[in-house]
Symmetry: C2
Subunit: 484 residues, 2 copies
C-alpha cells in the first residue's frame, strides 16, 4: 500500500542525519513545526518523554533540598542591565515586549532568556542570616533566545523548555559541592534513564557561562560524531552575589557575601536521546521513557479471532495491572505488518505477538525494538518475563551507546593530527593543551571543532606534556570535537 510507504521513514540516519532526524521527530508524532520560524509544537508523545525526564530529576532535586518556585516570564530591561556580564551575553538574543494592549510600555520587558537577573535579587532579599543558607530554588519553565539559526526540534529552537536551579551558600565549599551534586544528577539521568553514557568535565575558561567562576558540563556523542552539551552546572563564585548584594550575617553577626550556583538542563536532552538511539525504522526509546513500554499485537485468522484477541487482551491487562505501560492493538482495520511498522516508528521498546500457535502452546513471542531479536516465553510469569526483557532492551541501548563513545575517543599530538582525526572520524580527540584560547582558534577556523571540555580533576597529568598546537607546556588535557 502506498499509504504505508509514506508512514515510514524515508531518509537514512547514516547518510542524511539531519533530514532523518527531522523526519523521525515528525512521523513519530513528537513535535510539529509552528507557524513562526524557530518554534515547535511539542505533541503529546513528545511531551510525555519530557514529563518523565522532568519527574525523575525533580524527585532527585527535592530529595536533596531543592524547592520549586515560579518567577515572572518578563524581566525589566534595567534588571537585565544590572549584571553587566549577563547582558553582554544575552542582550542580542532577547525577545522584547514593548506594548501592553494599545499602550507602549515605559520600560521594555525582556522575555526571560535565563533568570539570574530576576531571581538573584529575590534571593538577596530572602537571605538574612547563615540560618537561611543554603537556599535553593528551581523553576521548570520555558525561555526564549532570539538566535537566527535553522530550526532543529529540541536542539535549536527560539523557545525551549528547561529547568534552572539557583542556589546560595555560606562558603565556596558548599557552592562547589552543590555544583557537583547537580552535575552528578544530570549524569545519572543520562546513564540510568536515557541509556546514554556521558563525559563529565569543565568548560575552558573562555567558554564559561558569563559571570561564572567554573562551568561544568555533561557532554554526549551523537551518531554524526558531534558532541552535545547535555547539561551544565555553574559555580558562580561571588560575582552574582556581589552584583545583587546577597549578604548574610554569620554566627558571629559579621556580614559576609554568599557564594552562588546555577544549573540547568533543557529539552536538548530529548534531542540527544532521539538522535542517539533511533534508526531507519523510526524512533527508539529506552523503556524508562517510552509512553508505551509494550504493545501486544493479536494475529488472527477468521476462525481464531475471538480466542486470540481474548488471550492478547488478558496479557495486556495483566501487564497493565503490574504497572507496566502496555497497549493492546486490536484494531480490526489494520493488518499485523502495518501495526509492527507503526509501533516501530513510534518507538515502543517491546512487542508481544500473539497468534493461534502462542494460544495453543500457552506462550508469548517477544520482539525487541532496537535489534528485532525475538524470543518465545511461557505465558505464565508474563510480568516477570516482560520486566526482564525491558531491562535487556535498556542494557542493549546503553551498551551500544557506550561502545560507540569508547571507540570515538582518540588521542592526537599535533594540530594536523587533530584536524585529520576529527575530519575523518568525528568523535572526540584528546590532547595536551596549554589552556590558551589562542590555541583553539586554528582548529575552530579549519574544521569548526573546539575544546568541549577538560577533565574535572585538576591534579591529573595531561595526556601529553606539550600543547598539541603551540608546543608549550601542557597544563591540562583538552577534549576536542565538533558540536551541536
Amino acid at each position: 500500500m502506498s499509504g504505508e510507504q509514506e508512514l515510514g521513514i524515508t531518509e537514512s540516519k547514516e547518510h542524511s542525519t539531519g533530514d532523518w532526524y527531522a523526519e523521525v521527530v515528525q512521523k513519530a508524532e513528537l513535535a510539529s513545526y509552528a507557524p513562526m520560524g524557530g518554534f515547535i509544537v511539542t505533541r503529546p508523545r513528545g511531551y510525555a518523554i519530557w514529563e518523565r525526564l522532568r519527574d525523575h530529576l525533580d524527585g532527585w532535586f527535592k530529595d536533596t533540598g531543592v524547592r520549586n518556585a515560579y518567577f515572572p516570564l518578563f524581566i525589566p530591561e534595567s534588571y537585565l542591565e544590572r549584571e553587566a556580564d549577563v547582558v553582554e551575553g544575552f542582550d542580542p538574543e532577547v525577545a522584547w515586549v514593548t506594548h501592553g494592549g494599545y499602550d507602549e510600555l515605559e520600560e521594555r520587558l525582556a522575555v526571560r532568556p535565563t533568570s539570574e537577573s530576576i531571581i538573584t535579587p529575590f534571593i538577596a532579599e530572602w537571605v538574612r542570616s547563615h540560618r537561611d543558607l543554603p537556599m535553593r530554588v528551581n523553576q521548570w519553565c520555558s525561555v526564549v533566545r532570539w538566535e537566527a539559526t535553522e530550526t532543529k526540534p529540541f536542539f535549536r529552537t527560539k523557545e525551549f523548555l528547561w529547568q534552572e536551579g539557583h542556589t546560595a551558600h555560606a562558603d565556596p565549599e558548599g557552592a562547589r559541592d552543590e555544583t557537583m551534586t547537580r552535575l552528578d544528577q544530570y549524569e545519572r539521568l543520562y546513564e540510568e534513564v536515557m541509556a546514554l553514557p556521558a563525559l563529565k568535565g569543565r568548560k575552558p575558561p573562555h567558554d564559561k557561562f558569563p559571570g561564572a567562576h567554573t562551568t561544568t558540563t555533561i557532554e554526549t556523542l551523537m551518531p554524526d560524531g558531534k558532541s552535545v552539551q547535555a547539561a551544565t552546572s555553574h559555580y558562580l563564585g561571588t560575582s552574582f552575589a556581589e552584583a545583587f548584594d546577597i549578604t548574610y550575617a554569620d554566627e558571629d553577626e559579621r556580614e559576609r557575601t554568599a557564594h552562588t550556583t546555577s544549573w540547568g538542563i533543557s529539552w536538548r536532552a530529548m534531542g540527544a536521546l532521539i538522535m542517539a538511539h533511533s534508526d531507519d525504522q523510526g524512533l527508539v526509546l529506552p523503556p524508562t521513557l517510552a509512553p508505551e513500554q509494550v504493545v501486544v499485537v493479536p494475529i488472527w485468522q477468521e476462525d481464531s479471532e475471538a480466542e486470540v484477541v481474548e488471550y492478547a487482551a488478558d496479557v495486556a491487562a495483566e501487564l497493565d495491572e503490574a504497572g507496566i505501560r502496555a497497549h493492546l492493538d486490536d484494531r480490526e482495520n489494520r493488518n499485523p505488518g502495518f501495526k509492527y511498522n507503526e509501533h516501530e516508528l513510534k518507538g515502543v521498546p517491546l512487542r508481544i505477538e500473539v497468534g493461534p500457535n502462542e494460544v495453543e502452546n500457552g506462550e508469548l513471542t517477544l520482539v525487541h525494538r532496537p535489534d528485532s531479536e525475538n524470543a518465545v516465553a511461557d505465558r505464565a510469569g508474563a510480568v516477570e518475563t516482560v520486566e526482564e526483557h525491558l531491562d535487556t532492551v535498556y542494557a542493549k541501548l546503553y551498551a551500544r551507546a557506550e561502545a560507540t563513545l569508547e571507540g570515538e575517543i582518540r588521542a592526537a599530538e599535533s594540530r594536523e593530527e587533530i584536524l585529520g582525526t576529527i575530519g575523518q572520524h568525528g568523535g572526540y580527540v584528546k590532547t595536551g593543551w596549554c589552556g590558551d584560547e589562542g590555541c583553539e582558534e586554528p582548529v575552530k577556523e579549519a574544521i569548526a571543532a573546539e575544546v568541549v571540555m577538560v577533565p574535572l580533576d585538576r591534579d591529573e597529568e595531561p595526556v601529553h606534556e606539550e600543547c598539541a598546537i603551540c608546543g608549550e607546556d601542557a597544563t591540562e588535557t583538552a577534549y576536542w570535537a565538533r558540536t551541536y
Copy 2:
C-alpha cells in the same frame, strides 16, 4: 520582642479583608511582589500548593483520556485574528513582542492570553478520521493578560499560571459530556482537596467565553461575601471547528465538522483557598495541600533537653516514614511560643507538642490549626492518631465553609430586595430571571453585583415565576453576587 510582633498578621480579616489577604500571602511566604506592577514571584511555599493542585487534577485528567502537550508561548497576530470572537475578547489585553534582538519583527507576536487560536489549527491538522476522535490535549503554562487593575496575588495578576484543555469530538453529545466531566473534576478538586464547597452552573449568555455555545462555571464564596469564578468549562459547539476547519471523515467517509470544548483552572483557585480558610493568625491550609502537614515541637528545660528532643525526633521520623509530611522544629534559638506563632502563620494544619510530661506519660499533645482544639493521645499508634486528626482538620474546614455558603444563599423577588440583601449581607441572592441582559444592568450599576450563574438543569422550574427585575415570565433561576 518587637521582632515577633512584626512576624505576625496585623490586619483583620473581618475589617480589612484586602490588606489582611495581602499580608497573609507575603508573611506566610507564598508570594512576593515583582518589580513590574501586576506580576508576582511565587515562592516555594506557594508553588508547592500549586504543584499539589496540579498533580491531583493532572492525574484525573490522564485517567480520563487527556494527554499533555506544549504549544508556543507566542501567537502571530494573524492567527489571533482568524477567530474574530477571540480577538474581540482579548486584543486589548495582549502583551506584544515587537523586537527580536536588535531587529523589529515583520509580524507582531502576542504573548499567549489563551491558546485556542494556536492549538485549534493543529488539532485540525491532526484530526483526519473519526478514529482520531475524541482528541484531547492539555497544557500547564502561564498566560498574560494586560489588564490595568490593582495587583492581588493569585486573584489579579497580569501573568498567571493555569491549565488549558482543548478537545475535539465527533458529535455534540461527546463534547457536552466532556464539558461536564471537566467541570465535575474541578468541583471534586474543590470539595476533596481544597475543602471548599462550590456551586455549579452556567454563565448567562452575555457572559459566556467568546465563541462558546455554553460556558459552565464553578463558583465559590469568599468571606467578604463575593463570589469567585473558580474554574470554567466551555462547550464551543462548532464555532472554533468551523473557523479553523476541524473536519473528519465519518464511518461512511462523509466529511463532518467536529465539536470542541475548552476548560481551564488558574491559580486563582489558590487565592480562593487562602482567603476562604485563613484567619487573623495567618495561613490555614487543608492537610491535603500543606507543604508540612504536622510540626513536632519539643519543649524542654535544661535538664530534660536530650530526652525530650529524642522523643520528638522519634515521633517525627515515624510519621515521615509513614508518608506523612512531618517537620521537627528543634531549633535551639527559638522558644516554643515563637515556634507556635510561626507555624500558625505558615498554616501547618497540626502541631504536636512534646514536653517532659508527654515523655513521662508516653503521650502526645495534638493541636488543630483552625480552632486550636487540642487533645492528648497515646504515643503508641501515633501514625493512625495523626491521620485521624488530619482528617478531622479537613472536615472542620469543609464544614465551616459549607455552613457559610449555605447561610449566604438568600432569595429575593424584586430589584430592591436584591440590592438590599446583597448590600447588607453580601453572598448570593437567587431570583426568577427572564434571561435578558438588560435586566442585569440596573443591579450592576447600583451595587456592582451581577448574575454569576444559573443552575445547570434547564428543566427545573425557576424559584419564582416572574423575573425579579422586569416582572415578565421567568425562564430560569439567577444567582446574583458581587464578584472577584
